[in-house]
Symmetry: C2
Subunit: 334 residues, 2 copies
């Protein structure tokens, strides 16, 4: 039985969306057990599942505008913190929250703890590509600064995830750079390129450019947290901007345009769905001793369901313990 | 009379698109004179303008895959190099090319030369926003690495451009960062934030996030060349990816969808036009003693026309000499 701790109070639609997502996951997967952390009365309003689910009541929760490190220290009974503590105590195998990202990062680092040999866990998500397969990118912003050694570790982490959780054989690992030639980039990129070229545990295909990400130029894309964060937010902003402009082009296009929209509705919905990549789950704070996964703040029940599904696969494939093995091997080699 | 040197041989559609753009510009603007550098016979095939235009023949040209610095040194008679030399010699006031970006950067730096006090000229472009007004961003990749002092200079350069060339009163200058709080980012961002907060020559509004760029969160966005390049390419890649998916959603959507497309055609075209921002001109290698402007490699006659228009405005407003004054003032203050 896989035991998953879920912060019922995090995110814009908590606790309803969280609990409804849990209901669906419990129905679909018979090998999971969910611990819901949060306000019991509110949780009960939405909870229909009766088996393999428990509620751990707490009045405290971390708000989206709380200062992360401070919140973790001061709100020791917050739903998110209790979930992380359950993982540390071995009472849960993983923790999920749609709440304050920074606080979850802090809880992951200081409560759950790093895998030995991983210096700086990073945020990893599966992002959309035109063919619907997606690619994994990390670090998406857990760190403001990274060294070549960190990026080297992200390549290994991402590659293990793509292989185990997404079932990709020999995932192609690319280094995000300002050109494809091997000599491109700043010292961080040049040194990382050398490290990745010599790394036998991964299938390194060289530098990749941001323009090609949606064309699935690689299965795993390695970036420092600052650039990864900028790229992630640019994808989001550009997609939202274009969809918004498409909407206003239709609205301002007169009767003919509105009529056309009625005919095209299904096609446009399939476009929107292909950009909404919540079916791939949430963002993993990767490099920790257990899966700690951030679901988007605006997650609905469907997104929560898929995050639980993702965590279940991570537990089933035992990807974290495989990484523990890989990184202890690296230590021995040094 | 403003004298503009144009590399007739650079870009995917040269010389036809270049010369046709020149024809249109000469017709529209009576205060410019164009020098066309390149193969005279080929240029003559498309040149309809007869006044205020001259052809400086050369057989040599820089190819898109030439190694930039080497090409500039070895192909001394290349159309792009001759154009830059004309600026240096005072025979032209500015130079435009749609050719090899790296080579144009090298020609700008080594032939035209930097404004005294500007350490690292950067690439600046006007990028699209939802309201159609656009924002200016630099550095878009002239440099792989930047210091806080460089970013400080980009803020001044971008602000002068937005004010003079785009006519924006007190342009809002934002620093691209991984969060809006003043304490966000790596040391480069934190030090730059301090410098910009104290800079009286600009209207600094603080940190901005990549997600908000299309919402015109700022008129000028300052970034290091590595991040700026990644953001620019992500915008391009995401926009192309979405438009491609929209197209295939329509094509695979059956008869109903195709019928809808016929009705919506005009609206979709207006969307595409709003994303195509070539009417704002090309990318300026900014911080040089004269305007050196890169038009997109795939430029058509229309894009070339707008790049000439942009350069004409830069010359008319004398933005470069204003910057010379501003940076010599800074020198005296130090």
């Amino acid at each position: 039985m896989k035991k998953i701790a879920v912060d019922a109070m995090g995110g814009d639609n908590a606790p309803q969306a969280i609990v409804e997502g849990v209901n669906r996951a419990l129905e679909e997967f018979s090998d999971i057990e969910i611990q819901l952390y949060g306000d019991e009365t509110k949780i009960r309003q939405y909870l229909t599942a009766t088996e393999r689910v428990s509620i751990i009541h707490t009045d405290e929760k971390i708000d989206s505008d709380d200062e992360p490190a401070k919140a973790i220290r001061r709100k020791k009974k917050a739903s998110m913190v209790l979930g992380a503590q359950a993982v540390k105590a071995g009472e849960a195998d993983a923790v999920i929250s749609a709440g304050n990202t920074g606080a979850l990062l802090a809880a992951g680092l200081f409560v759950v703890g790093r895998i030995k040999g991983v210096d700086r866990p990073g945020l990893m998500s599966t992002l959309p590509t035109a063919d619907g397969q997606g690619f994994d990118m990390m670090d998406l912003g857990a760190n403001a600064e990274n060294t070549p050694a960190h990026l080297h570790q992200y390549a290994i982490l991402g590659s293990f995830y793509a292989k185990n959780v997404r079932g990709i054989d020999k995932p192609r690992v690319g280094l995000l750079n300002n050109g494809t030639e091997s000599t491109k980039g700043d010292p961080l990129r040049k040194e990382t390129f050398e490290l990745l070229s010599q790394e036998k545990a991964i299938n390194f295909i060289g530098n990749v450019e941001a323009r090609e990400l949606m064309n699935k130029v690689a299965d795993v894309v390695v970036a420092d947290g600052f650039t990864g964060n900028a790229v992630l937010k640019t994808i989001e902003g550009t997609a939202l901007g274009i969809m918004g402009q498409l909407k206003s082009a239709i609205e301002n296009g007169g009767l003919k345009s509105k009529l056309g929209y009625l005919f095209m509705k299904d096609s446009l919905r399939s476009l929107r769905d292909s950009l909404d990549y919540s079916s791939a789950g949430g963002a993993v704070l990767f490099g920790l001793k257990a899966p700690v996964v951030k679901s988007h703040g605006s997650s609905d029940a469907r997104a929560i369901f898929y995050t639980i599904k993702q965590v279940r696969t991570m537990l089933e494939t035992d990807v974290v313990n495989q990484l523990v093995g890989e990184f202890s091997k690296e230590e021995t080699n040094d």
